[in-house]
Symmetry: C2
Subunit: 160 residues, 2 copies
């Protein structure tokens, strides 16, 4: 196994294991539990479901993997805090978007040639990348894995 | 920059940025706030401070960087849940251990030759490592960064 393959494998392994455990948690929460706040006065689980879906969906764009599917989520789940944005889609649809966004990423990741992970991502100029080659597509994956772990840590607070 | 250097830089960058923001958060919390639960009935911030310190201190061992300094924390913060273990050290000492454990790791990481990050960690047999070379020292760093992000996500719930 080349170093490149090894590193991609390590990063994907971390991503997949966090997707798996967060997905299991969302599946175990009832619709009523999704409407609960993770801590008094803080985000509801449903907001975090939409927020993570919007962030994962937007990874298609930043990684150059194709059009994103749910840009309409951004105004609700990225640019507005919970309980302040436009009306949310029905919970059932949100659950479906979450699954589909992650499945699409998994398909893209399986097909992406290893060297491409080390190329610049789409929100960066050629000039900046020449100076900071560690800010590549794989670094986006590492960051998003940490972002997922961060919110997963909040979501587990709802487990009985 | 070699690929090896690049990977190590990416992983260390993520680790350091999470240490920095968690450290800033602990510093901003008063001793009284440290005694609060992150959500009703859940861990108190002081428990997470000790828990993260014990985990980071034990990284010296698993990464083969030398003797760990605070093994006495394990029985309180790893093998017992909050409010069930032996008495905790004073908050002031815990804050100091947290800083020192992270400083020691930073010193070790700065000196570790890049190729060593791709060697097996200490909790793994040669035989298993031959089969799963992605379970190396760098993977421990990636995992512990996610672990830190997970608890950081809980600790921010205490911010006013």
């Amino acid at each position: 196994m080349s170093l490149e393959q090894l590193y991609v494998k390590m990063a994907l392994h971390a991503w997949e294991s966090h997707i798996k455990r967060t997905d299991a948690l969302f599946s175990s929460l009832t619709d009523e539990q999704l409407l609960q706040e993770v801590s008094p006065g803080r985000n509801r689980a449903i907001y975090l479901l939409g927020h993570l879906t919007a962030v994962h969906d937007s990874m298609c764009g930043i990684l150059g993997l194709g059009e994103r599917r749910y840009p309409q989520l951004d105004v609700i789940f990225l640019s507005s805090p919970d309980k302040a944005g436009p009306e949310m889609p029905p919970i059932k649809e949100l659950r479906q978007y979450w699954s589909e966004a992650n499945s699409r990423l998994a398909d893209h990741f399986a097909k992406l040639p290893h060297p491409e992970w080390f190329q610049k991502h789409m929100s960066m100029s050629e000039e900046d990348f020449a100076k900071e080659p560690h800010r590549n597509k794989l670094s986006v994956l590492l960051n998003r894995t940490n972002h997922l772990a961060y919110h997963f840590g909040q979501l587990v607070l709802l487990k009985k």
